[in-house]
């Protein structure tokens, strides 16, 4: 570990914290329907969309109608994306003449982008036409991100409102999120990325004659516009197979730094939106503080492990850390930091190959995802995931003192706690359940690229990543098989919607409750005691659930690595 490495990490945190109240204020105004600096430009577009689609922007929805509208929107999105992937061979913008995706792979890919997972059982540059990339994937990157954000906003409204039956209007929220938040941020970001070197063209792949006389085909495309939303929307699906490790997707250490900030920017800002909407920004800062504690702990372990390198490298006299699967322009610090950020948020873009990380370095991303990506998390999804843990924490605190727990003026009762547990339990069920099936099903075992504990870790990582809607991978695993395509699609679907529906039920139930005034007996939820309790609850729930699975994977591998064993 170096001083300059830690300086980059601290600067990263400082910038994210500085952006939080700024973006938080702006997003709060957007979702409260107030005017913003962009309103003169965007208001007419918004009005036209409402008029043509017959939406009354002032009519709000019950939580169930809101959720059903969201699901209907996703049915359309799935149908359109699946059709596009299957038909891309007949459609324009296809200079590399890519043919149709196989049905099982198209199913997996469509679910993957719909659920904001962006798990990829294919390599972009060798599989997809430019049309599929932009009309299919870029577009779905926007909509799945917007969906996450608006659901979090609906849940926040549940906390913030009292004695009402509605949580907002899905059509208005999704339109405003796309028009006012995502697009205006993506436009300057795209141009910055092109300036740094990311291609943005519809021209065909270029054939170069190398200095030694070989032929090199350079894959190109409308990359920058997709990378911008892939990062801001915590989608993470690479235009190219190597994702953000590819020099055309992340050409410089500066583009890398800004991409890392963009992964966290909106998720962190949503904690501030929460604080503002419930009337006390410190409530938001307390949640961000709990996230920050878990984040820094993860970065420290991962950076230390990667800088330390592996036993094999040390015995050969190689110093400078574990560079297998990493890029020189980023080095160890920025690669380890990126890995923690991308799995703390549910981004899943990678700038180094996690499969080649050390055992402990690679365990941190797994833990981040197992905890449900509540450290900043996916845009929206991270906040509603964290609020579920807050409910459990408040409930435990209430049990300890024998009072009905309250949070931001709402009584937390049996219904909320049951729904929160339902949402929290789905993740271990699908992560560990499917991993258990895969490691005893011979065709699934055959997909492992590495032997020994690491092969098992590849499978555990795959289902953990998909259930948490992350999308990064221990990439050695051959995922494009009927087994992984189908189980993966089911995993991603359950991980997304089994979490959303209980969260929305909580939103509805909270909105309909009366507000109670804070008294001397109310547990304060803005101080270090609450932050500590929240972090403790997360770690205890996560630790008890996942320790056995980690013990036979990364921990076993670390111990055998220390003895010099190889597989």
């Amino acid at each position: 570990m170096t001083l300059i490495g830690w300086t980059q990490i601290i600067l990263f945190c400082a910038i994210v914290i500085a952006l939080t109240p700024v973006l938080g204020l702006y997003m709060t105004r957007v979702f409260e329907g107030k005017s913003t600096p962009l309103s003169p430009l965007l208001r007419p577009v918004e009005t036209i969309i409402y008029r043509v689609s017959g939406i009354d922007p002032d009519r709000e929805q019950h939580w169930l109608s809101y959720t059903l509208a969201m699901l209907l929107f996703h049915v359309l999105g799935f149908a359109a994306l699946y059709a596009l992937l299957r038909l891309q061979g007949f459609l324009p913008f296809n200079p590399a003449e890519q043919s149709a995706m196989a049905p099982d792979l198209a199913l997996n890919t469509a679910i993957s982008f719909l659920t904001n997972t962006n798990w990829q059982n294919y390599g972009g540059e060798s599989t997809l036409s430019y049309l599929s990339q932009m009309l299919g994937l870029t577009h779905q990157n926007f909509l799945s991100a917007a969906t996450g954000i608006v659901l979090a906003v609906a849940l926040i409204r549940g906390f913030a409102r009292a004695s009402v039956s509605t949580v907002g209007n899905f059509w208005v929220d999704i339109t405003r999120c796309t028009l006012y938040v995502l697009l205006p941020l993506c436009i300057p970001f795209t141009l910055f990325l092109v300036w740094q070197g990311i291609p943005q063209t519809f021209g065909p792949y270029v054939d170069a004659t190398t200095l030694e006389g070989g032929k090199q085909t350079l894959a190109l495309g409308p990359v920058a516009s997709q990378v911008a939303i892939k990062m801001l929307g915590t989608n993470g699906g690479g235009f190219f197979n190597a994702n953000a490790a590819h020099p055309f997707e992340n050409p410089t250490a500066l583009s890398n730094f800004v991409q890392m900030i963009s992964i966290f920017a909106l998720g962190a800002a949503l904690t501030n939106v929460f604080g503002r909407m419930v009337g006390n920004q410190r409530q938001g800062w307390a949640i961000l503080a709990a996230m920050g504690v878990l984040f820094i702990a993860g970065v420290a372990v991962c950076y230390w492990a990667e800088a330390h390198g592996t036993q094999i490298m040390q015995s050969l006299g190689l110093s400078g850390g574990n560079m297998e699967g990493k890029e020189v322009r980023f080095g160890i610090a920025a690669s380890a930091l990126f890995a923690v950020i991308t799995t703390a948020a549910s981004c899943g873009a990678v700038n180094a190959m996690h499969d080649s990380f050390t055992a402990l370095g690679g365990m941190i991303p797994i833990i981040n995802m197992e905890l449900g990506e509540i450290v900043i998390g996916g845009v929206g999804a991270g906040l509603y995931g964290m609020l579920l843990f807050v409910i459990i924490t408040i409930f435990l605190a209430g049990l300890m003192v024998g009072r009905t727990p309250e949070y931001v003026g709402k009584k937390i009762e049996a219904r909320e706690v049951k729904m929160a547990m339902l949402a929290i339990l789905i993740l271990p069920l699908v992560m560990l359940g499917f991993t258990a099936i895969a490691v005893i099903y011979p065709p699934a075992v055959a997909s492992m690229a590495n032997a020994g504990p690491h092969g098992y870790s590849e499978v555990l990582y795959a289902f953990t990543s998909q259930a948490a809607n992350n999308g990064s991978a221990f990439g050695g695993l051959t995922g494009n098989t009927p087994f992984y395509n189908l189980t993966g699609a089911v995993t991603m679907f359950l991980g997304r919607f089994w979490m959303i529906i209980p969260a929305m039920a909580i939103a509805g139930s909270l909105a309909s409750k009366r507000s109670v005034a804070a008294t001397a007996g109310t547990f304060p939820t803005t101080g270090p005691l609450f932050v500590g309790l929240l972090v403790g609850t997360i770690l205890i729930v996560g630790g008890l659930t996942f320790f056995p699975a980690l013990a036979v994977g990364p921990l076993a591998e670390h111990l055998s690595m220390l003895t010099g064993a190889t597989y």
Binding site: T201, A208, Q216, L316, M323, R329, A334, N450, A451, F474
Partner: protein, 206 residues
């Protein structure tokens, strides 16, 4: 739910057109106008021939060139399309080795490459980036140490002085971005182009 069908269809189509067509097309238009070189892949040309991209590494195996990172990229086997064969620096199919920390294949590969590298420059420590594969398989850079390590081999192959080559490496080294981000590095393709120019300008026989 039926009454939601119209808002669903209309807003879906509107947002699809906006984010999936208007946005990428407009961005392409502006990018091509403002940053044409980058938007088209930062291509390097020699005459009217494209020799590569400044951002994409290429395979160097000859002793007279600086070598880049190892690359684990593959290409479909011409004999059997269900299989792949090793094809270093295949810029149409990026990817890493994905070998884990306790992989025997990785241990054997590292041992062999360290032994081979030591023959090039006995006595010096082998830089780790010279014997590891990059994440993309297309890493355009190596560390300055990895470039300096190769100087003796190239000096011999080209009959150039080591001092000249060291100066060339120093000249080609890019520092951290803004003095802070990432790591110092040398772009291998640009370094080799400079090397070819250097030799071309050298009076013959010296």
């Amino acid at each position: 739910m039926l009454k939601d069908l119209r808002p669903a269809l209309v807003s879906f189509v509107a947002l699809t057109v906006l984010t999936g067509l208007v946005y990428p097309l407009a961005m392409t238009g502006i990018a091509q106008l403002v940053f044409p070189a980058q938007a088209n892949g930062s291509l390097i040309t020699k005459g009217d021939q494209v020799v590569g991209s400044a951002l994409i590494g290429q395979n160097f195996a000859e002793p007279k060139y600086f070598h880049g990172r190892l690359s684990a990229t593959t290409a479909p086997d011409p004999q059997d399309s269900t299989k792949t064969v090793s094809a270093p620096y295949n810029a149409a199919s990026s990817g890493g080795s994905n070998l884990g920390p306790t992989s025997k294949a990785l241990a054997d590969r590292l041992a062999a490459d360290v032994a081979a590298a030591k023959q090039d420059n006995p006595g010096a420590d082998v830089p780790v980036d010279l014997v590891t594969t990059s994440g993309s398989g297309l890493d355009p850079d190596i560390s300055p140490e990895a470039a300096l390590f190769q100087v003796p081999r190239i000096a011999k192959a080209r009959n150039l002085s080591e001092t000249t080559l060291r100066a060339l490496v120093a000249y080609s080294t890019q520092g951290r971005e803004l003095g802070l981000f990432g790591e110092p590095r040398v772009n291998v393709l640009k370094l080799n182009l400079a090397l070819d120019r250097l030799e071309a300008s050298k009076p013959s026989g010296s």
